[in-house]
């Protein structure tokens, strides 16, 4: 009889995690030396990474291809504005707002998770549009004009910038670490079983609805948090921007280019997207059209993204979520 055991994490992955921790500490200390511009740009990068990681969780691990995550990006910002209006200080309001958005996602999940793939994609988008329309009715938002988080002006610009930067860094860290823990735990194994074969997963007693619901809510809270942080750095809230479908398009682009359903893919994708934006962003519409074409090319010819390129060269996926089984010494694998 063959005995199998789960292999320990490969050495390269341990190095990678160590490196990531070092980078994290370095980023935390960076504002001591970096200029305001760099701090602002990095804040944006962190927000992009959060979006990518959350969308990957949703689409890559739960198979929920949403084109409506902007609903939660916008709701996170809107909840923050409402909470600040109600007298809460702006920074706690970011997190309170995200938690409230999670509640909205819980309610929506009963409805949207019963849909088929294609329906889900567009219905979530319609829901985002409907929420945007409702939010525009709020007199505080003043329709399409939008409003500003004037409460943030109570802080000195440097303090505000630094706080948003550190909060974004911390949130990003928590999301990456949390996703890692989540996917290595029960939900991770269940979601991978569902992804491989939904029917088989259900037949061994996995509640596919429950797993999807949890991931949906987590991803929604994540997007809301990132959305609120974005609002805290941008200050103005316009329904058309906050609930714009471009958020979902960006998320999709980053995850697709990096590698859907891999742990490290969305982070790579976000870095690449950020770099493209920095280099070609001045070209405006042509740049965005180019992004669309890159997305088509990746979808058709490199559907596994940059990580896929790495895998094609015969290398192991870095930080893979798949548990590897090893054989006891002296045993040979069966062909």
């Amino acid at each position: 009889m063959k005995t199998t055991h789960i292999l320990p994490m490969p050495l390269s992955d341990r190095w990678l995690i160590g490196l990531a921790c070092l980078v994290f500490v370095a980023l935390a200390l960076l504002p001591l030396v970096a200029s305001a511009l760099v701090v602002d740009k990095l804040t944006l990068l962190f927000i992009l990474i959060m979006f990518a990681v959350m969308w990957n969780l949703l689409a890559g691990y739960a198979g929920l291809v949403s084109v409506g995550q902007q609903a939660f990006v916008g709701l996170g910002g809107y909840a923050m504005i409402r909470l600040v209006e109600a007298g809460l200080p702006p920074f706690p309001a970011i997190f309170m707002g995200a938690a409230l958005t999670g509640l909205a996602a819980w309610v929506l999940s009963w409805f949207v998770l019963r849909m088929k793939v294609g329906e889900f994609a567009i219905a979530t988008w319609v829901i985002a549009e409907a929420i945007r329309a409702v939010v525009s009715f709020d007199p505080l938002i003043q329709g399409e004009t939008g409003t500003s988080l004037v409460a943030l002006n109570a802080y000195a610009p440097e303090i505000r910038r630094l706080t948003v930067y550190l909060l974004a860094l911390a949130s990003m860290g928590v999301m990456i670490w949390g996703t890692w823990r989540l996917l290595h735990g029960r939900i991770g194994a269940q979601s991978q079983a569902i992804r491989d074969d939904e029917g088989a997963a259900a037949s061994v007693g996995i509640s596919t609805f429950q797993v999807k619901q949890r991931i949906y809510i987590i991803a929604s809270v994540g997007c809301a948090l990132a959305g609120a942080l974005w609002l805290a750095s941008a200050i103005t809230f316009q329904p058309r921007t906050a609930f714009g479908v471009q958020w979902s398009v960006f998320m999709l682009f980053m995850v697709l280019v990096g590698g859907l359903g891999t742990f490290i893919g969305p982070i790579l994708g976000a870095l690449l997207f950020f770099a493209l934006q920095e280099i070609f962003g001045d070209f405006g519409a042509w740049y965005l059209a180019g992004i669309g074409i890159v997305a088509i090319v990746f979808a058709l010819y490199l559907p596994r993204g940059l990580v896929g390129l790495w895998l094609d060269r015969g290398c192991d996926e870095p930080l893979s979520m798949r548990k590897r089984l090893g054989l006891a010494p002296g045993q040979t694998p069966r062909a």
């Binding site: 689409a59 291809v65 084109v67 409805f111 019963r114 849909m115 793939v117 294609g118 329906e119 994609a121 567009i122 219905a123 988008w125 319609v126 829901i127 549009e129 409907a130 329309a133 409702v134 525009s136 009715f137 329709g143 479908v245 398009v249 999709l252 682009f253 697709l256 859907l260 405006g284 519409a285 042509w286 740049y287 965005l288 059209a289 180019g290 992004i291 669309g292 074409i293 890159v294 997305a295 088509i296 990746f298 979808a299 058709l300 559907p303």
Partner: protein, 308 residues
């Protein structure tokens, strides 16, 4: 009130044409084209370019645009969608979102962001109307568009039910393998279906340009309206699509009576309501129909909980 109802119904013709292409792609090719609305805008922009830059008349521009759109649809199916379809359920969604972004921003870069309309090129037609008894005014243009929509959908219906091509289309969409055994080349059918779908999108875009304005970023909203009409009417039947389009048009005009912003929201609400009703009906059927489902939920709740 009655005037709004008539306006809503007439608007529904436009939505039905817009939705028919999406429905055809979804029903036959099993493909949700998230760039459908942007294709419609492309058709409108093409016609506008022919009229405003090349100096064609509006009818000539329409006559040139529609075949060009059909050819574009055929090519897209051949070059992009076929490959995307082979990649599973995710890739088509990703591909067409990329295509949508490329089309929107490409058109923005080429044509600029100003709103454009064909209304200025059709003279009195854009504002003249008939007066019905009861002091009801009905625009001539909406009526002509509605009639065109009915004719187009009728011809499409005949094409699908009465011709060898239509039989091949329906056979492929029910069982592609069995259709292949009957000598039907699914890829060929899909290419022609895509050609028709994109031509329909182009026609809808021209309708929009005739009755209102288009911008390079009108596409996503058009896609949403098309999808709403398809879902409200039920996927896979042209009559359903027409009913769905009319229901959406009526909901929007009635919503617009309350406030202009409410118009689109009313359409969203109708769509979400219909979708919720369908999902509940499916859930109810799983529990043996409405009656037993309600009984189960209200009378035996504790038993259900124990089971869970």
């Amino acid at each position: 009130m009655l005037e709004s109802l008539i306006q809503g119904i007439l608007l529904g013709g436009y939505y039905a044409v817009l939705a028919a292409g999406l429905s055809l792609m979804f029903g036959v090719v099993r493909f949700i084209n998230l760039a459908h609305g942007d294709m419609a805008v492309l058709g409108a922009m093409g016609a506008l370019w022919l009229v405003q830059t090349m100096g064609f008349g509006v009818p000539a521009a329409i006559a040139l645009t529609l075949p060009a759109m059909a050819a574009l649809g055929w090519l897209m199916q051949r070059l992009i969608f076929e490959r995307a379809l082979a990649g599973g359920f995710l890739i088509p969604i990703l591909t067409t979102i990329g295509l949508a972004a490329a089309l929107q921003n490409g058109m923005f870069a080429v044509f600029g962001s100003d709103t454009k309309s064909l209304g200025a090129h059709i003279g009195a037609l854009s504002w003249s109307s008939w007066q019905l008894p009861g002091n009801i005014f009905i625009g001539k243009l909406p009526v002509y568009m509605f009639v065109t929509a009915i004719v187009v959908l009728g011809v499409l219906h005949l094409l699908l039910t009465r011709t060898p091509f239509g039989r091949a289309v329906r056979a492929t969409s029910t069982d592609a393998e069995a259709a292949a055994l009957c000598g039907v080349d699914a890829r060929r059918v899909h290419r022609w279906a895509a050609a028709i779908a994109v031509a329909l999108a182009g026609l809808a875009g021209i309708f929009l340009a005739l009755r209102a304005q288009v911008t390079p970023f009108s596409g996503p909203m058009m896609l949403i309206f098309a999808f709403e009409a398809v879902v409200i009417g039920g996927i896979g039947s042209l009559r359903g699509t027409l009913i769905g389009g009319i229901a959406l048009g009526v909901a929007q005009t009635f919503g617009g009576m309350i406030s202009p912003q409410f118009s689109i929201l009313a359409g969203h609400c109708l769509f979400l309501g219909v979708l919720a009703f369908r999902l509940m009906r499916v859930a109810a059927n799983d529990r043996g129909g409405w009656r037993s489902a309600i009984v189960a939920v209200f009378l035996h709740r504790d038993r259900l909980r124990r089971k869970a």
